[in-house]
Amino acid sequence: MAEVLVYVDHVDGAVRKPTLELLTLARRIGEPVAVHLGPGADTAAAVLAEHGAVKVLAADAPEFADYLVAPKVDALQAAYDAVAPAAVLVPSSAEGKEIAARLAVRVGSGIITDAVDVEAGDEGPVATQSVFAAAFTTKSRVTKGTPIITVKPNSAPVEAAPAAGTVEQLAVTVADSSKGTKVVSRTPRESSGRPELTEAAIVVSGGRGVGGAENFPIVEGLADSLGAAVGASRAAVDAGWYPHTNQVGQTGKSVSPQLYIAAGISGAIQHRAGMQTSKTIVAINKDAEAPIFELVDYGVVGDLFEVVPQLTEEVKSRKG
């Protein structure tokens, strides 16, 4: 059976959920071979094997951390050359897309980004994408070379499918030309302790209606009662009320949770682009004419400062 390379997104060997989703998709089109770059391959291998990786190609080199993106492309290319895969799947993170794109040029293959589903087809893997602010769904194929597809979080279920997951060291030579962009310093972001925005099952977002940074704890309180991630609209981010890393929308994160709660968000097209594929959508807004209400499964026309705290209390009491 044809092998499919899966690029592993991890933090020191702790594999992030989107990679496990990729393994589910990879099994539909072949045998998953995981590519793990950086430290922690042995820790990661156990989890990767449990989810279907027949093999884990591992490489660690200081260059992966010392320079931006290009050394990782060298490594993924080495894995590509070693395996001659039927397809390459990469998580649709900012870095993942850049790595995939550069590999595509090097090996002369087409690239599809931000797939929300991948299935086997007569002429190779077929990728589903959600485009034009999720107003359309397209089905696409790579027609030249080996399909290189980046996949968004929450695109497939995480499934156990035990496989060997044997770790093999991958020999990587980082080219001098890949050391062009130095990472001079790195400041880790403080963890909020909440779920990662793009991976969360529930997202609670605040917008212009929240009125100020000092009011965001109301949104956070609801999120915490539901075990949700916190998002923010561009208006709230531009006003400096919440960090850009939490921005949901066209220029921020695109989320597709089971439940999306929009508090004080009017629903401009740019915001809708980032959340329209959420399974259930709920909005709280005092403007009955706000476009967000066109999308909702349940909407409350009312003051978020009344509705949200009441909801939070109710959630807490029901959860006991």
Binding site: R102, G110, T138, S140, G180, T187, H244
Partner: protein, 261 residues
């Protein structure tokens, strides 16, 4: 020595309009008005600031697209770019991202450059891969997704804010840079700028000028194919209640019914 900056911009259908696909499943450019991609305005702005800080700099704004794409160039020129290059050729219709990066790379080399500045993504395709593709094709460093950028002493430095960390990056010129919407509000063209833009040179190049064959370009030459397009079914009308003191409780009831609580 003059700092040669090339800013890559895209002419896109207005995202607030009703965007559609044409019969050949490419973007229907007649369905809604086009404009300079909003995210590219940030690239033009950063190029202008870099140019203002340099002793001597020249900004060329570059686009690949149909006749109307000149509008995007005019906007960038009216913001303050010095000259423009429009790559236009009937054989380019339907070109995908890899093909576009090939055309842009050739045009950038022909124009001559020390620094290429791009937006983080287009507002239509939103792939966000073009800057990386260009760096790979040009064989120069990629310094991408910057929320802060500056150029001095033949080096570009910037800050890249990722999910888990914020990185300070540095590369020697020539390089490809992309900037995010956090890099700084783009200026509005002044009346003077708009008038001046009319006199600025706009060169038109076709594939022959770039010594490119059409084989890898256009719809037929693309590395990817769109086989099917479906409009997302309209959402069925949801329940909307007016809060009369119990709105939060009613919402909790709905969420409990959906098993979220």
């Amino acid at each position: 020595m003059s700092l040669r900056i090339v800013v890559c911009v895209k002419y896109v259908p207005d995202a607030t309009g009703d965007r559609h696909f044409a019969e050949d499943l490419t973007t229907d450019r007649d369905a809604v008005d086009g404009l300079l991609s909003e995210l590219d305005e940030y690239a033009v702005e950063q190029a202008l600031q870099i140019s203002e800080d340099a002793d001597d700099a020249e900004i060329t704004v570059l686009t690949v697209g149909p006749e109307d794409a000149k509008d995007a160039l005019r906007k960038a020129l009216s913001m303050g770019a010095d000259k423009a290059v429009h790559v236009e050729d009937d054989d380019l219709h339907g070109t995908d991202a890899l093909g576009t990066s090939l055309v842009l790379a050739k045009a950038i080399e022909k124009a001559g450059y020390d620094l290429v500045v791009c937006g983080m993504a287009s507002t239509d395709g939103v792939m966000g891969v073009l800057p990386a593709l260009l760096a790979e094709r040009l064989g120069v460093p990629q310094v991408t997704l910057l929320s802060e950028v500056s150029v001095a002493d033949g080096k570009v430095t910037g800050r890249r804010d990722g999910d888990s960390a914020s990185e300070q990056l540095e590369a020697a010129l020539p390089a490809v840079v992309s900037v995010t919407d956090q890099s700084g509000e783009a200026r509005y063209p002044s009346f003077k700028g708009i008038m001046a833009a009319k006199k600025k040179p706009v060169e038109s190049w076709d594939l022959e000028d770039l010594e490119l064959e059409a084989d890898d370009l256009g719809l037929a030459g693309a590395w990817t194919a769109v086989d099917a397009v479906a409009e997302r079914p309209a959402r069925t009308a949801g329940t909307i209640v007016k809060d009369e003191g119990e709105g939060g409780k009613q919402l909790a009831e709905f969420l409990a019914g959906q098993k979220f609580i």
